[in-house]
């Protein structure tokens, strides 16, 4: 999706979603004010819930599509190769306040979005003919981007949060093929697990 840089929003993390983003980027708050291009809709939380539901409904099929496309040994060694052991994954506390949950959700979506960008980039090289997988990864990334926009809008409009520190997963560009596949599989396993929790929490 083509995106024009939006200078109005200081917290425009969309720019960080470019392929290759693998390390935390310094988010420098421009100022304390928080403004959006147009007012956020009143049903924003409902939209966030729907987005999480949408992501949750497709997470498992994305995971299956991914490890199937990688070929052996992935489909028969999911426990070893695709266990959701992702270090530095942002935490989420379902019993927190809405603001805290939204901030944590923001971090998770930013992390997942960047990681999904890496996976998409790697898969286009490693499995250039897995068009179904590419399409599903892109669609998921688009939904994550929309979710990030909604969360940002909510944080900004209701809680006046203008800055959230985010972290990103490891950059896979220097890894070998197997490691790229394995890290992607682990990330999607984690994504499937986390998104179910998030869909419940909101």
């Amino acid at each position: 999706m083509k995106v024009l840089a939006a200078g109005v929003v200081p917290l425009l993390l969309v720019l960080h979603w470019k392929h290759g983003a693998g390390s935390p980027l310094p988010i420098t708050p421009v100022n304390a004010t928080c403004a959006t291009r147009h007012p956020c809709p009143s049903n924003l939380m409902n939209q966030i819930r729907n987005q999480l539901g949408q992501l949750n409904s497709s997470a498992n099929s994305l995971f299956i599509l991914y490890y199937t496309a990688q070929g052996e040994p992935f489909p028969n060694n999911l426990d070893k190769l695709c266990s959701p052991n992702v270090t530095d994954f942002p935490p989420f506390h379902a019993n927190g306040t809405e603001k805290a949950r939204l901030v944590e959700l923001y971090r998770i979506i930013a992390y997942l979005g960047a990681s999904l960008g890496n996976i998409t980039r790697d898969q286009k090289v490693l499995n250039p003919y897995a068009h179904g997988l590419h399409s599903k990864l892109s669609t998921t990334a688009d939904v994550l981007r929309g979710l990030l926009s909604n969360v940002l809008c909510r944080l900004c409009s209701k809680y006046h949060v203008s800055h959230v520190d985010v972290t990103y997963g490891p950059d896979t560009s220097g890894k070998d093929v197997f490691q790229k596949k394995k890290l992607g599989c682990q990330l999607l396993g984690k994504y499937k697990q986390v998104i179910a929790v998030l869909a419940q929490a909101f």
Partner: protein, 901 residues
């Protein structure tokens, strides 16, 4: 330096879209053509302000033309000499205003729709008009604020928005769709020129995020923005239609059909609702499943309250449950047939006593009406008739027909009738057949019939006693047809009815008969024979030996296609029209299905014909390309002496000077028939030839010529110059003295070598040539030394008689012989045999080469004609090389034919 001003003819019609470019072109033309100097900076003679001239319709427009001082000096003009034109039409002077000495303005009040060239012109020296500058004026309107902006997201595609652009602007107007989230902006979507009212964005839709969209319209006169609309794309979705997987009936319930389908992936995260419609196959209106029954996501639905054994057609569409968005398109239609149910009504039942000659018995024909489909509830397999005599056992009959004739005693009987289908039997119709002596004691009275409302009513007075039912019998009274009784049954409570059953059935005919199908058509029954409302038609068709098949057709139809027919088969078809009260068969119609489908024969014949034509064409082309070869093998050219042209041998013909044969025949493809002659003669015993040759020799010596006849075709004549000479004069002389009076048949035909050379004397009375009549000329020729001609003859021999190198000894031999008058090669051969071995041997070897060449020549050479032709050419060459002033050589050489003599 004098200023050059050129008149420019401008094209009046310019397209609106091109106006900018054209303005530039116009200005460029003026710059280039209205100049003050050549080779220096081009300076226009004047300027018009404003340069850009898009004018709003209805406004005033003023343009000012300012002359350059230098131009004014050169042409001695001022602003008073300026006049304006729009296109080629001068602008009235009333619209002018001279501002000062150099500037003149023109004003167009309340400007109308215009797209024209406005030029500033000067009038020089009284009469000469020159255009000095021009601008294009285009009028139009600023864009209106786009209205009714709406967007739609077709599932699987990108979002498309459309709007009402408002009034026509008459100008090039750009419409740009802008969109953004609360946190970021998307790329603009520029509407295409041909669809300025819509635009499809180039990013995929993201649901559950509000997007704000608006349209900007801009042209040369202004820019305007539509109202912004803010929506969630999921509320603008038009889903893909569901796909109906199956329509299943239930054996337990004949009134239901279960519909199953698959639909959008959206149902995994949004709730859908459905719209299901159904109809019977022949109906045109749809029934609606109550929306509240399908207001949630599901993948199947059971439709109830359907008629048994009836085909229903279904379609379904879906949308978001909350009603936001658009209904999907209707799915593909799918149909299913409800299961059969037992016949819902007993057939109407009656009897007729037929005369019987047997004593004590009577023949009874029981007859009943077929049940209409909506009462049969399935396919009626058969009817069961039970006849019970008083205090006796029953007789059971199973009948497929609608009548049964039985012989009964004169006793009273009770008959019952049931119709049976796959599921069960109908209720029984009970009919009492009274004993033969039964007298009806209370008949009805006052039976009347009268037409009313286009039907025939029957009215009667009921008896006092209770009545179970009435049976009405009638027939059509006609002079043309006998009285065929028909009947109908009425309840016992009524005393008035109309004749409801059709009095006749529809007449079916074929509209089109195919190999495996037939289109039947019929006319609606006239109202006066319908006797009620036609509920449906039934088509019965069968082959001579096959079972009858019945097809029910809705009463609104007048056409039906029978399919799965057998080709080349006779079919019998009839139709029955049914009202609520029964049906009536129409006449039977027969047709035969063709053996081949339409176009099938053509599909076979046409390719065969085309293939034949193609083969023929290829054959002709092949023959055309190989015509020389074919001609050679089939009808080689045979010279006709009567068509010879002696004139061409005229001594007055100027000689041609060829330096070599190669010049005359660049292809160098020479083959000489004389070789054949030599070969042929070589195979012949010499003593025989010797006589003839001696004879020839004598003749030639006497006549200073030879009579080899058709020289061109004769190997003898062809070989003559080669052998006899070293002496060119003699060669020429021999040629010139040749009398074309005889024909030589030689060389055989095709590859055959004749065993004997045949010389036939021509009957021609053509006078002798001059050379023969003037021997002194020949003598002169004889005196010319022909030593120079040896080499050409050698070449001739090489090329004509052999493709190999001919031994130079031959030339030597020829020179040594110096045969002055005897030129016949046979003679030479004779002489040759008589000379010493050291001479004959090389010649013999050379000769052998030649002989060996013959088959090759025949096989690979261009043919006999070619050989002869080349021979003639050689003769000509010899003469030419010698520079004979009086040459009797052929003037033309025709390839593939004989040299004209």
């Amino acid at each position: 330096m004098p200023t050059q001003i050129l008149q420019i003819a401008f094209i009046q019609k310019y397209l609106c879209k091109m106006f900018t470019l054209q303005t530039w072109i116009v200005q460029a033309l003026f710059i280039f053509l209205t100049t003050e100097s050549i080779g220096e900076l081009i300076v226009p003679c004047a300027h018009i302000h404003p340069e850009s001239s898009v004018v709003q319709l209805g406004s005033n427009f003023t343009a000012v033309c300012v002359l350059k001082e230098k131009c004014m000096d050169d042409y001695h003009v001022t602003a008073n000499d300026i006049f304006w034109k729009t296109g080629r039409v001068p602008v009235p002077y009333e619209q002018y205003s001279v501002i000062n000495r150099t500037a003149s303005s023109v004003t167009f009040p309340n400007i109308t729709l215009i797209n024209a060239l406005l030029t500033c012109n000067i009038r020089m020296f009284g009469q000469i008009n020159r255009s000095v500058y021009g601008i294009r004026i285009i009028s139009g309107l600023p864009p209106e604020k786009p209205k009714n902006l709406s967007c739609i997201v077709n599932e699987g595609k990108k979002m498309m928005c459309q709007w009402d652009p408002g009034r026509e602007t008459y100008l090039e107007t750009n419409y740009t769709l802008k969109s953004e989230w609360a946190t970021e902006k998307f790329d603009d979507c520029k509407a295409k020129r041909d669809t300025p009212t819509s635009c499809t964005v180039d990013y995929p839709p993201v649901y559950f995020v509000n997007i704000e969209v608006w349209v900007e319209a801009e042209n040369a006169l202004g820019k305007v923005t539509s109202d912004h609309i803010n929506f969630d794309p999921v509320d603008k979705v038009k889903l893909n239609p569901p796909h109906i997987l199956s329509v299943n009936s239930s054996k337990e319930l004949s009134s239901i059909l279960k519909l199953t389908w698959t639909d959008s992936r959206f149902k995994s995260f949004i709730t859908l609702k459905y719209d299901i419609q159904y109809r019977t196959k022949d109906a045109s209106t749809w029934n609606q499943v109550p929306p509240e029954d399908t207001s949630s996501t599901r993948s199947s639905f059971t439709v109830q309250d359907l008629k048994p054994f009836t085909e229903y057609v279904f379609r379904i569409r879906c949308m978001k449950e909350d009603g936001k968005g658009y209904w999907s398109d209707w799915s593909e239609e799918a149909s299913g047939i409800t299961y059969e149910d037992r016949p819902s009504k007993a057939p109407n039942f009656w009897y007729k006593i037929e005369p019987s000659h047997a004593h004590g018995t009577r023949s009874i024909q029981l007859k009943w009406k077929t049940l209409p489909p909506f009462e049969a509830n399935g396919k009626i397999l058969d009817y069961e008739v039970t006849l019970t005599k008083w205090k006796s056992h029953s007789q059971n009959y199973t009948v497929k027909d609608t009548k049964l004739t039985v012989n009964l005693t004169n006793d009273r009987y009770v008959a019952t009738l049931t119709a049976r289908n796959l599921v069960g039997k109908s209720d029984a119709s009970v009919l009492t057949i009274p004993a033969w002596d039964f007298q009806a004691t209370h008949p009805i009275t006052d039976l009347k019939a009268f037409p009313k409302d286009n039907v025939l009513w029957v009215e009667w007075t009921a008896p006092n006693e209770s009545v179970n039912r009435y049976i009405l019998e009638w027939c059509v009274l006609s002079d043309k047809s006998p009285c065929i009784p028909d009947w109908q049954q009425e309840d016992g409570t009524v005393h008035r009815t109309y004749l409801r059953a059709p009095s006749r059935g529809p007449t079916v005919r074929t509209k089109k008969v195919g190999k495996n199908e037939a289109v039947l058509e019929w006319d609606h029954l006239p109202i006066d024979v319908q006797n009620g409302f036609i509920r449906n038609y039934t088509i019965f068709y069968r082959t001579v030996i096959g079972n009858e098949i019945a097809v029910n057709v809705d009463s609104s139809h007048t056409e039906y296609t029978l399919s799965s027919l057998t080709s080349d088969t006779l079919y019998m078809v009839r139709m029955a029209a049914y009202t609520d009260e029964g049906g009536k068969d129409g006449p039977e119609f027969t047709f035969t299905t063709p053996k081949f489908a339409q176009g099938e024969i053509e599909a076979i014949v046409v390719p065969v014909c085309l293939a034949f034509l193609l083969t023929t064409l290829l054959g002709v082309l092949f023959c055309f390309n190989k015509r020389d070869l074919i001609k050679k093998h089939i009808w080689p050219n045979v010279p006709d002496p009567s068509k010879s042209h002696i004139a061409q041998w005229s001594p007055h013909t100027p000689p041609r000077h060829f330096n070599s044969k190669d010049q005359m025949y660049p292809d160098g493809n020479f083959t000489d028939v004389s070789v054949v002659e030599i070969e042929a003669n070589d195979k012949k015993p010499f003593p025989e030839d010797l006589k003839s040759l001696d004879l020839f020799k004598k003749e030639k010596v006497n006549t200073e010529g030879h009579s080899s006849g058709i020289g061109g075709s004769s190997c003898m004549s062809s070989s003559r110059p080669s052998i006899s000479s070293s002496d060119e004069n003699e060669s020429a002389q021999n040629t010139s003295s040749t009398v074309q009076y005889s024909t030589v048949v030689h060389s055989g035909y095709r590859h055959q070598v004749p065993s004997v050379q045949v010389f036939s004397r021509s009957e021609s009375t053509q006078p002798l040539l001059d050379s023969e009549e003037r021997p002194e000329d020949l003598q002169l020729v004889d005196n010319v030394d022909g030593s120079d001609g040896i080499l050409p003859r050698q070449r001739y021999f090489k090329q004509n008689c052999s493709q190999h190198e001919t031994s130079p000894d031959i030339s030597h031999f020829e020179r040594s012989q110096q045969v002055s008058s005897v030129n016949e090669e046979d003679f030479v051969r004779l002489k040759q045999q008589q000379i010493s071995d050291h001479i004959s041997q090389p010649y013999g070897s050379g000769k052998m080469k030649m002989f060996q060449e013959v088959p090759a020549v025949d096989a690979f050479g261009p043919g006999i004609e070619g050989q002869v032709e080349r021979f003639e050419t050689v003769g000509m060459e010899d003469a030419v090389d010698e520079g004979m002033p009086k040459s009797y050589l052929p003037q033309t050489v025709r390839r593939g034919g004989y040299m004209p003599q």
